[in-house]
Structure formats: structure tokens, C-alpha cells
């Protein structure tokens, strides 16, 4: 006998063991996001010269917290929920071995606690560009290794479940698009874990002072980014999955062309392989040929799959709304769902990701890289692609996914407010970062007044104060989201499980009619334009 939860909207079914695991990962992810947002608020208020809140040691520690929590922990822990859901509910099967999921959670949680603990102790304020020979506490590196192993265990579980579903024949034909995308994401993650082992095992031995006395900084830099930047493509593929899923939760859209979207996912597999090169463009040792082919050539190709998805998702919404009778050339944009926080966040996720992606293409062009390396252009790229794209995309997904699991969203008015304030905050911050980058404002610097310099110091204050305003709005918006999400989860679910014994009972129940019937009716009442 097994307890099975059925979502009446989609008819998808989820067993209790998987559901528990999903909720654990998701709750942890929201807590980490809250921590990242608090750190972000402090960082933004320090970078604004009008306030300059924190003193140097506190600022560099907070920035390390912000970078690590927002860049690796929050997205990957949240992706774990999508991975687990995509390989069970969508494939109409149960988890092959929930114990592996708990093992992954335990290892990752232990790693996270070690990393955050060493940073909090002040012995690991090394940023998320922790290039050797900058030395952090040995446990900091050990934490990264444990975290990577935890992620690897989860990937093994995901792979096992794909095989299990295929062997049981619980679905016919190809994988659902969401599962397909998460499978691509999983493959990219495994590649990244190889980089993580290559970077952090020697670094850990060096920090513990056993066996290894010297690590070449360029070896560490290359392998660190073989992990670091490749993992960002894990996030991006999962973000694209979240885009499709958000539109489906909100409007039950159908993709315009399954083949087009699958091609785009598959292209990520090839183009993400040399992304580590993007970080080596101004390093010694590498020739023009390596830098050009690895970073510029393939880096520009990287934009193709992202642009394909960036077209396919709004196009799916447009096509679906038209088929339900929304008139006019731009009627679909008016009916997008601007009063639905998930759809607002989806729109701005696509927009911000597009801006961040163009920034990345500029920065990875060989000759331009030198003019962008380590100034505000790079945070602009990260906050467009990762914060704006992935975080907003995942928040939009959560607004659909929590009700899917039976948790009502608490504070709907706050959710609407949160979506808009986050979007406006990120847009303002991105504008300020581009403005600053144009005049060469360096990134990760506590003080840009350069007291005691005997050369003219440029005045960058206007752009950086604007950054402070935008960053504050964005961080507050994310914090409101975390409170909404956690209170919704803690309020509990009223959904009752049913007890079933047969495996075939995991097949979906009949789904409800599209939620947009109401919109179509409203449109029909309006005079035709």
C-alpha cells in the first residue's frame, strides 16, 4: 500500500516518499534564498557610497555569503525538487530509491553547513572567486567536495529513475519536455561535478597541508570554472524548464513545436562544454587560438539555444491565447496575466535573462573581454542571467508548483506586489551596473573613494547609489517571496492522500478544463478591435 497525492488541476500523481523529499529540498532552498537576499541587501547598501553600511571585513564576508548562497546553493537545492518531480510524477512512477535522495540531501546539507560555518567564522572570506593561493579554512574546501558528491548522488538517482520508468513502460514515446530538459540539466551537472572534483580535491589537500604543497593558480582557475560556469548551465536549463512549466501551470499552454524546443535543449549539451574558457581570456599561458575557439566561437554559439527558448516560451503563450479567442496582434500580451505574479515573474525572467545573455556574449568576445573583465559588467551579467533569469524563473515556478502540491499561496496581494517590486528592482540595478561598467567601476570593492590616492579618482557615485536603490528593492522583493513561500508551506496542505496498491494507479487522473476559459469568455464580451 502506498499513499498517493493527486493534483486535480493537472491529474498528476505523486507518492508520499517522493513528496516528502521534494518538500524538504524546497523548504531548504527557500531558507537559503532568504539568507542570500539578506546578504544581498547588506551588499547593496555597502556598495552605495551614500550609505556604505559595512566595514571591510564584514563586507567581504557578506559578499562571500551572498555569492555562494545565491550562485550555487539556492538554485541547485531548488533544482533538486524539479529533478525529483520530473522523474517521478511526470513519468508516472515512484522513486527507485528514496534513501538515495535522503543521502544526497544529507551530504549536500552537511557540505552547506561546513561552507557557511567556515565563512561565518571569518576564516573563509574568499568570495566565489576563491583563487588559490588565497587560503581559506580546509573545511571550506571539504564542504564543497561533500556538496558535489551529494549532487552527484542525486544525479545517479535521477538516472536510475529514468531507466526504471523506461523498463516499466510507464510512458510511451519520448520523455515529457520537462523531464527531457531536466535530463539535459543532469548531464551538464555531471560534467560540472568532474570539474568540482578536479578543482576542490587538490585544493582541499593543499589547505590541509597533506600531499600537495603547491597548486598552480591557473590550474585551479580553469578547473574551478569548469565546475562553476558549467553549473550555471545546469541552472539555465532548469530555468528554461521552469519557464515552460510556469506557463503550463498558469495557462495550460502547449509548446509551439516540441522538436524546436528539444533541439534547443540538446544544443546546450555541446555548447556548454568549453564554458570554463570564458574566465581565461586575459590569463597568461593560453594562446589566441585557444581563447578564440574556446570562449568566443563557442561562447557566441551558446546564445542560440537560449534565444530559441526565449522565442518558444512567449510564442507558446501567444498561440494558446489566440486559440482561446484572444484577438488582435498584441491582445495576447495584454492578456498575458499581469495580475498573476507567476506570469509577471516569467515575463521579467525572460527579459532579464535576455539582457544578461547579451552581456555575457559581449564579455566573452576576445577583444572586448579586456574592457569588461572584473568591472561592474560581470555582476550585470550574473544578475541578468542568474539572479534575474533563474531566480525570477524559479520564483514564478514556485507560484505554480506550491498549489500543484496542495499548498495555497498565502498573501496573494503581497505576491503581486513582490513580483513587480522584484522586477523593477532588478531592472534598476541592471541599468546602474551597466552605467557603472561603462566607466570602469570595479566589482567586489568595499570602498571606491580610494582615500590617499595621488592620482585623480573618478567619481562613480551616481551609478553606484542607483545600484543601491535597485538592489534594495530587489532584495526586499525576494525576501517577501521567501516569507510568502515559507508561510504557504508551513500553513500545511489540505490535500488528502489515497491509498493504492497498484503501480498503474500512478497514471494521471483526468485533468480539468484549461483555467483560461474565463479569460476567453471575458475577451468575447469585449468589442472586437
Amino acid at each position: 500500500m502506498e499513499a498517493i497525492y493527486t493534483d486535480p488541476e493537472t491529474g498528476l500523481r505523486l507518492d508520499r516518499a517522493t513528496r516528502r523529499l521534494i518538500l524538504t529540498f524546497m523548504g531548504t532552498a527557500f531558507v537559503i534564498l532568504g539568507g542570500a537576499a539578506v546578504a544581498a541587501l547588506l551588499v547593496a547598501l555597502t556598495r552605495a557610497p551614500a550609505i556604505q553600511l559595512l566595514w571591510p571585513s564584514a563586507y567581504y564576508m557578506t559578499l562571500t555569503f551572498h555569492g555562494i548562497m545565491a550562485l550555487t546553493m539556492w538554485p541547485h537545492v531548488f533544482e533538486a525538487t524539479i529533478w525529483l518531480w520530473a522523474c517521478t510524477a511526470l513519468l508516472r512512477t515512484r522513486l527507485a530509491a528514496p534513501i538515495l535522495g535522503w543521502l544526497a540531501y544529507g551530504l549536500a546539507a552537511l557540505g552547506i553547513l561546513m561552507i557557511l560555518g567556515t565563512v561565518a567564522s571569518g576564516k573563509a572570506s574568499v568570495m566565489y572567486t576563491l583563487y588559490i593561493p588565497l587560503r581559506a579554512d580546509p573545511l571550506f574546501y571539504l564542504g564543497h567536495v561533500l556538496y558535489a558528491v551529494g549532487v552527484l548522488v542525486l544525479m545517479i538517482l535521477f538516472g536510475l529513475n529514468l531507466l526504471k520508468a523506461r523498463a516499466e513502460g510507464t510512458y510511451t514515446g519520448s520523455l515529457p519536455l520537462v523531464t527531457y530538459g531536466m535530463a539535459v540539466s543532469a548531464i551538464i551537472t555531471v560534467v560540472a561535478v568532474v570539474g568540482a572534483v578536479a578543482a576542490f580535491v587538490p585544493a582541499m589537500l593543499w589547505a590541509f597541508r597533506v600531499l600537495i604543497t603547491k597548486v598552480d593558480p591557473l590550474y585551479f582557475k580553469a578547473t574551478f570554472w569548469a565546475m562553476g560556469h558549467t553549473l550555471q548551465y545546469t541552472n539555465i536549463t532548469a530555468m528554461v524548464v521552469a519557464w515552460y512549466a510556469t506557463a503550463t501551470f498558469a495557462l495550460k499552454v502547449k509548446p509551439v513545436s516540441e522538436k524546436f524546443s528539444r533541439w534547443a535543449f540538446a544544443l546546450y549539451l555541446i555548447t556548454t562544454l568549453p564554458v570554463l574558457m570564458h574566465h581565461l581570456l586575459v590569463d597568461p599561458t593560453w594562446s589566441h587560438a585557444v581563447k578564440y575557439i574556446g570562449a568566443t566561437f563557442v561562447g557566441i554559439l551558446l546564445g542560440i539555444p537560449s534565444a530559441m527558448h526565449g522565442l518558444a516560451v512567449p510564442a507558446s503563450v501567444e498561440k494558446t491565447l489566440r486559440s482561446r479567442g484572444v484577438p488582435g496582434l498584441w491582445g495576447w500580451l495584454r492578456q498575458w496575466g499581469w495580475d498573476n505574479p507567476a506570469m509577471v515573474l516569467l515575463a521579467f525572467s525572460i527579459l532579464l535573462f535576455g539582457i544578461g545573455g547579451f552581456d555575457g556574449t559581449v564579455a566573452t568576445t576576445m577583444q572586448l573581454n579586456m574592457t569588461r573583465h572584473n568591472n561592474m559588467w560581470i555582476p550585470a551579467h550574473i544578475h541578468g542571467a542568474l539572479a534575474g533569469g533563474t531566480t525570477l524563473g524559479f520564483m514564478a515556478f514556485a507560484y505554480g508548483f506550491l498549489p500543484h502540491l496542495g499548498f495555497a499561496i498565502r498573501g496573494k496581494g503581497w505576491a503581486k506586489f513582490q513580483a513587480w517590486i522584484t522586477a523593477v528592482g532588478f531592472m534598476t540595478m541592471m541599468g546602474a551596473m551597466h552605467w557603472g561598467a561603462h566607466y570602469g567601476v570595479p566589482r567586489r570593492m568595499q570602498d571606491i573613494r580610494f582615500v590617499g590616492a595621488d592620482a585623480p579618482v573618478p567619481s562613480w557615485f551616481a551609478s553606484m547609489n542607483l545600484l543601491g536603490i535597485g538592489g534594495t528593492l530587489a532584495a526586499v522583493g525576494v525576501l517577501i517571496f521567501v516569507i510568502i513561500a515559507l508561510t504557504s508551506m508551513l500553513s500545511g496542505s489540505k490535500r488528502q492522500p489515497e491509498m493504492v496498491a497498484e503501480l498503474k494507479d500512478l497514471r494521471p487522473a483526468p485533468a480539468r478544463e484549461p483555467a483560461l476559459a474565463g479569460v476567453a469568455a471575458r475577451v468575447a464580451q469585449e468589442p472586437a478591435t
Binding site: K221, S257, F260, L301, N375, M445, A453, P456
Partner: protein, 174 residues
């Protein structure tokens, strides 16, 4: 929910993509070829490219080179007037750049830079120039100053608690 992204695709999905999707893919491929071609041909037809001169060194050896260079051309404490045609050196360490360089406008110099402790990143104020100084590796950038003035040099790579106070200076004279 058949036909949505939560379900296996309906039969026939693997048939040829619709024409508008194929057109869009070709547009993307063409813009990629254009950008790749621009950057690739720039290596051969233009002068602004990433530095590729480099040699392996050690912090001790590079410090000796810098000290010999400073002793030879020093005009004031930690200030060097680089004669046209000579190679210049810029050492990064926690937390300063050494020495201050005086260059002549319109002359071509090669500046060798490296670090003696951790990774640093000398950047030249408002010129949007950024160089990676890595211990154990020296790299040389060849440049011709075309603007006179005094330029602040600061560090773009986090290098410890004194990071924001790490400064140097390049003066370009007529």
C-alpha cells in the same frame, strides 16, 4: 494534459519543424557567424587584442627583475621613468602595485606584470583595461598611450582585506 510539457509528446512531433521555426534558427546562426567572424578577423586586421606574450617565472625571480628595473631607471622613490623602447615591469602584491610608471605619449611599451603572492588584477582607471597578474606566470601587454594624464591603477581581483586600498599610478607625459 496531453500535448503539454508535462506529458510525452503526441505522435508526429519528430516531423520536420515548421518553416517559421527553421527561419528563426537560420537568423540566429547567421548572427552568430557574423559575430564570430568579426572577432576572429580582428585578431589579424586590428591592433587591439589580448596580450599573449608570457613566460613562466617564480615570485622570487620576478621580484629580482622588477628590482633591477627600478634600480636602473628610478627618478624618485618607487617611481620609474621608462625610456622609450625599454620593457617596463609592474609588480602586484598585497596591497600595492610597484613601481609607479612614467610613460611618454605616442611611444610603444611592453609592460610585464605578475604577482608575488595571490592573484591580482591591475585595472587602469576609466581606460577599461584589465590585466590578470598570476603568481608564477608573467604576461606582457604592448600598448601605446594616446592620452596624457595621471591614471589610477587599482585591483579588480579580491586579494584580502586590504583589497580596496591596493593602488598604483601610471603617468603619461607629452
Amino acid at each position: 494534459m496531453a500535448g503539454t510539457v508535462f506529458d510525452p509528446p503526441v505522435a508526429g512531433w519528430e516531423r520536420r519543424m515548421p518553416g517559421d521555426k527553421r527561419f528563426f534558427m537560420w537568423v540566429l546562426v547567421c548572427q552568430a557567424i557574423l559575430l564570430i567572424g568579426l572577432s576572429g578577423s580582428w585578431i589579424f586586421v586590428a591592433a587591439q587584442n589580448n596580450p599573449t606574450k608570457r613566460f613562466r617565472t617564480s615570485p622570487e625571480e620576478f621580484s629580482q627583475r622588477v628590482n633591477a628595473f627600478v634600480d636602473k631607471y628610478q627618478v624618485a622613490p618607487r617611481t620609474v621613468r621608462v625610456p622609450p623602447g625599454e620593457d617596463a615591469y609592474l609588480l602586484s602584491r598585497m596591497w600595492s602595485f610597484y613601481p609607479d610608471l612614467i610613460l611618454k605619449k605616442g611611444q610603444t611599451y611592453t609592460i610585464w606584470y605578475s604577482s608575488v603572492d595571490v592573484v591580482h588584477n591591475p585595472q587602469i582607471s576609466e581606460q577599461l583595461l584589465s590585466f590578470q597578474a598570476v603568481p608564477g606566470h608573467a604576461q606582457g601587454v604592448t600598448l601605446t598611450p594616446n592620452t596624457t594624464g595621471t591614471f589610477l591603477v587599482y585591483c579588480g581581483e579580491y586579494c584580502g582585506l586590504g583589497h580596496h586600498g591596493m593602488m598604483g599610478k601610471i603617468v603619461v607625459e607629452d
